[in-house]
C-alpha cells in the first residue's frame, strides 16, 4: 500500500465539478508535483489533502489511515503557502517553535529543534528577527522550516515560489529539493510553472479541468505526452495533422509525403486523421540526411534568445517553431527566406484528445 492514497476524489462547488475522479498513489519520500493552469483543480486537491476542503466523494489515506473526517490540525501535515503566512507578531524562532508548543513539547526539545531548523535553512543568525525584517526568499525558507519543525508525515507546498523573483525562485527550488531529499519527506508540490515541476519532481501529475491528464516522470511527461493538452502545456509543440495510410506499419501522409512513425497505430484505421506533435528542438532547418520528414516553408520571424534561436516557419496554413543552438559563426536565416524543415518521423508524438 502506498504512503498517500487518493481514491476517486471528487469536489463540487454549487453543482460545478472542480475535481473529478482523481486517483493518486504516492510512495514514502516521493516528491510529486501537481502541474496545471489556473482553475485546473490542483490547489483544491491539495487543500482536500490538508483538510481545508471537504471532498464531495472519495477517500484520502495517509500511512494507511483515512483522514477525510479529520480536522486539519489532526492530520500531522506541514504546509507552505504562496503568501508565506508567517505570524507577524512572532520572531523567526517563535514562528518555528509555534507548532512544537502547540504539541506540548518540552522547552529543551523546542529549543534544540528550533536551532536544528535554523541550521537547515541556513538562517542561524536571524532567529530573533521579525518576518517584516526578512526578504521574501528568507520568509519562505522560514515557512518551510516551520512546516518541517513539527515532523509532519506529509509536506504540502502550495505554489511556494510564485511570489519570488526569478533568481531566488531557482535557488530556492534547489534548496527545497535538497532539504526534501535529506529528510526523505513525502512531498506534494503545486505549481503552474512547468520548469519548476520538471526540475524538482520524481513524478508529475498534469491536471486539466479537474482531472489528472497524465501521471509520469518528468522525462515521460515531456517526451511521451498522452494528450494534446499535456503536450501543449508542458513545453512548446507544433501540431501536424496527417492521415493514416497503414496502421500496422505506422505510416501516414503529411503534406503529400508518405512517412512512417516506425511503430504501429493499433487504435487507428486507414484514412483516420492523426494529430502529431513535433517539439521545436526535434526539428532542424535545412536538409538533414538522416531525417526523412521534410517540409517546405517561409521564415516568418527569428527570435534570438541567447543560447537558443527560435525560428518560426510558415508551412502551408500552419506556423512551426524550431529551436536551434546559437552558433556564433552561422548567421540565422532572415524573415521571408525559403527553407526546408527536417525532422525524424519517429520523434513525432501521437496526440490523443
Amino acid at each position: 500500500m502506498a504512503f498517500l492514497e487518493i481514491s476517486n476524489l471528487q469536489k463540487d462547488y454549487a453543482g460545478n465539478r472542480v475535481v473529478e475522479n482523481f486517483n493518486l498513489a504516492v510512495e514514502q519520500g516521493e516528491f510529486i508535483s501537481f502541474l496545471g493552469p489556473s482553475g485546473c483543480g490542483k490547489t483544491t486537491v491539495l487543500r482536500m489533502v490538508a483538510g481545508f476542503e471537504t471532498p464531495s466523494a472519495g477517500s484520502i489515506r495517509i500511512d494507511g489511515k483515512d483522514v477525510v473526517n479529520l480536522k486539519p490540525n489532526q492530520r500531522n501535515i506541514g504546509m507552505v503557502f504562496q503568501a508565506y503566512a508567517l505570524f507577524p507578531n512572532m520572531t523567526v524562532a517563535q514562528n518555528l517553535a509555534f507548532g512544537l508548543k502547540v504539541a506540548g513539547k518540552s522547552k529543551a526539545e523546542i529549543e534544540s529543534t528550533v536551532q536544528e531548523m535554523l541550521a537547515l535553512i541556513k538562517l542561524e543568525e536571524l532567529g530573533q528577527r521579525y518576518p517584516f525584517q526578512l526578504s521574501g526568499g528568507q520568509q519562505q525558507r522560514v515557512a518551510l522550516a516551520r512546516a518541517l519543525a513539527v515532523k509532519p508525515k506529509l509536506l504540502l507546498l502550495d505554489e511556494p515560489l510564485s511570489a519570488l523573483d526569478a533568481k531566488i525562485r531557482v535557488s530556492l527550488r534547489e534548496e527545497i529539493r535538497s532539504i526534501q531529499r535529506k529528510l526523505q519527506i513525502t512531498t506534494i508540490f503545486v505549481t503552474h510553472d512547468q520548469e519548476e515541476a520538471l526540475s524538482m519532481s520524481d513524478r508529475i501529475v498534469v491536471m486539466h479541468k479537474g482531472k489528472a491528464d497524465q501521471l509520469g516522470t518528468p522525462f515521460e511527461i515531456y517526451n511521451q505526452p498522452k494528450t494534446r493538452f499535456v503536450a501543449s502545456f508542458v513545453g512548446t509543440i507544433n501540431v501536424l495533422e496527417g492521415v493514416v495510410t497503414n496502421p500496422q506499419t505506422g505510416s501516414f501522409k503529411l503534406n503529400g509525403t508518405e512517412l512512417s512513425l516506425g511503430r504501429s497505430l493499433s487504435k487507428l484505421k486507414m484514412g483516420d486523421s492523426i494529430a502529431l506533435a513535433l517539439r521545436p528542438e526535434a526539428a532542424s532547418l535545412g536538409q538533414v540526411a538522416r531525417k526523412a520528414g521534410q517540409l517546405q516553408g517561409i521564415v516568418q520571424d527569428v527570435n534570438f534568445l541567447g543560447s537558443v534561436i527560435r525560428v518560426r516557419v510558415k508551412v502551408g496554413e500552419s506556423v512551426l517553431s524550431l529551436d536551434g543552438f546559437n552558433q556564433p559563426l552561422v548567421a540565422p536565416p532572415k524573415a521571408g527566406a525559403q527553407v526546408i524543415v527536417s525532422f525524424s518521423p519517429e520523434e513525432l508524438l501521437v496526440l490523443a484528445d
Binding site: G99, V102, F132, A143, A147
Partner: protein, 267 residues
C-alpha cells in the same frame, strides 16, 4: 498667484474659524474655572472637585464600568469579526449594519427596553439588585460602543491575511481558540486599543444609562454639580474634556504605531 486669491488664504480662514469656534468656548470655560477665588486665578475649583468623595466614587465607578465594557466588547467583537471574515464573508454587510444600529437607536430607547425586559417582575429581574443593574449597564455600554469597537477591530483584521494565517496555524496543530489568542488577538491589538480608548471616552461621560438605571456614575455626578454649583462644573467640564482628549491622543498614537508596522511589513 496672488496670495489673497489663492486657495491657501481661504484654507487659513476656514482653519482659523474652526479653531475659534471650538477653542473659544473651551478657553472661556477654562478661564471661568480658574476664577473661584475672587480677584485672582487659582485652581480652587479643581481642588474642591478632586477632593469631593462623590467625584472619586463616581469616577472610579465609571472607570470600572469602562474597563469591564472594554473586556466584554473585546470578547464579543474580536471572535465575531474574525469568524465573519473567515467563514461568513457574505454576512459582513449584515453584521456591520447591526453594529451600526446603536448610532440610530437612541440610548434612551435601549435603556427603556432593558427596564421593560429585566424589571423586578420579569423572568430575569436584573434591575432588582445593584450587581444585576451593573450587568445591564455593562451590556448597554457594550452596545453603545459596538460601532466603534467593531469598526476598529474589523479594520485591523483587514490588514491581515487571516484565512492563510489560520490555515497555517491549523496545519501546525493549533485549534481555533489558540489561533485567536496567539495569532489574531496580538496582531489586532493596536486596533483593539484604538477601539478601547473610544469606548473609554464614551462610557466615562455617559449619562442616560446611569441616570435611568440609577447607578452612581460620573455622568449623573457631572449633571448634579452642573445644576447646583457655579465654578466647579466648569472645572469638571475641563477635566472631562481632558480625559476624552487623552483617549483620542492615545488612539492617534497607537494608530500611528500600527501604520509604522504596516509600512515595515510591506517593505
Amino acid at each position: 498667484m496672488n496670495f489673497w486669491r489663492s486657495n491657501r488664504f481661504w484654507a487659513w480662514i476656514a482653519l482659523s474659524f474652526g479653531i475659534l469656534y471650538f477653542a473659544l468656548p473651551l478657553i472661556g470655560t477654562f478661564e471661568f474655572s480658574l476664577r473661584m477665588k475672587r480677584g485672582e486665578y487659582s485652581l480652587e475649583a479643581y481642588r474642591v472637585i478632586l477632593g469631593d468623595p462623590r467625584f472619586q466614587a463616581t469616577f472610579l465607578y465609571s472607570v470600572m464600568m469602562a474597563l469591564l465594557t472594554i473586556v466584554v466588547g473585546v470578547l464579543l467583537v474580536v471572535p465575531t469579526a474574525y469568524w465573519v471574515r473567515l467563514k461568513l464573508p457574505r454576512w459582513r454587510p449584515v453584521v456591520e449594519f447591526i453594529t451600526l444600529l446603536p448610532l440610530i437607536i437612541p440610548a434612551i430607547v435601549i435603556v427603556f427596553g432593558y427596564i421593560r425586559m429585566y424589571n423586578t417582575s420579569s423572568a430575569l429581574p436584573l434591575t432588582g439588585s445593584a450587581f444585576g443593574t451593573d450587568i445591564l449597564m455593562v451590556a448597554g455600554y457594550t452596545v453603545l460602543a459596538l460601532p466603534y469597537m467593531y469598526r476598529a477591530v474589523d479594520t485591523g483584521l483587514r490588514t491581515l491575511d487571516i484565512t492563510t494565517l489560520t490555515e497555517a496555524a491549523e496545519s501546525l496543530g493549533a485549534n481555533k481558540i489558540t489561533i485567536l489568542a496567539k495569532i489574531i488577538l496580538p496582531n489586532v491589538l493596536v486596533a483593539i486599543l484604538s477601539g478601547a480608548f473610544l469606548t473609554f471616552a464614551i462610557v466615562i461621560g455617559e449619562f442616560v444609562f446611569a441616570a435611568l438605571l440609577n447607578r452612581p456614575a460620573f455622568g449623573p455626578f457631572m449633571q448634579l454639580i452642573g445644576a447646583n454649583r457655579a465654578y466647579e462644573p466648569a472645572a469638571l467640564a475641563v477635566i472631562a474634556f481632558s480625559i476624552t482628549w487623552l483617549c483620542m491622543g492615545l488612539m492617534q498614537l497607537v494608530t500611528r504605531l500600527q501604520q509604522h508596522t504596516q509600512v515595515k511589513q510591506f517593505r
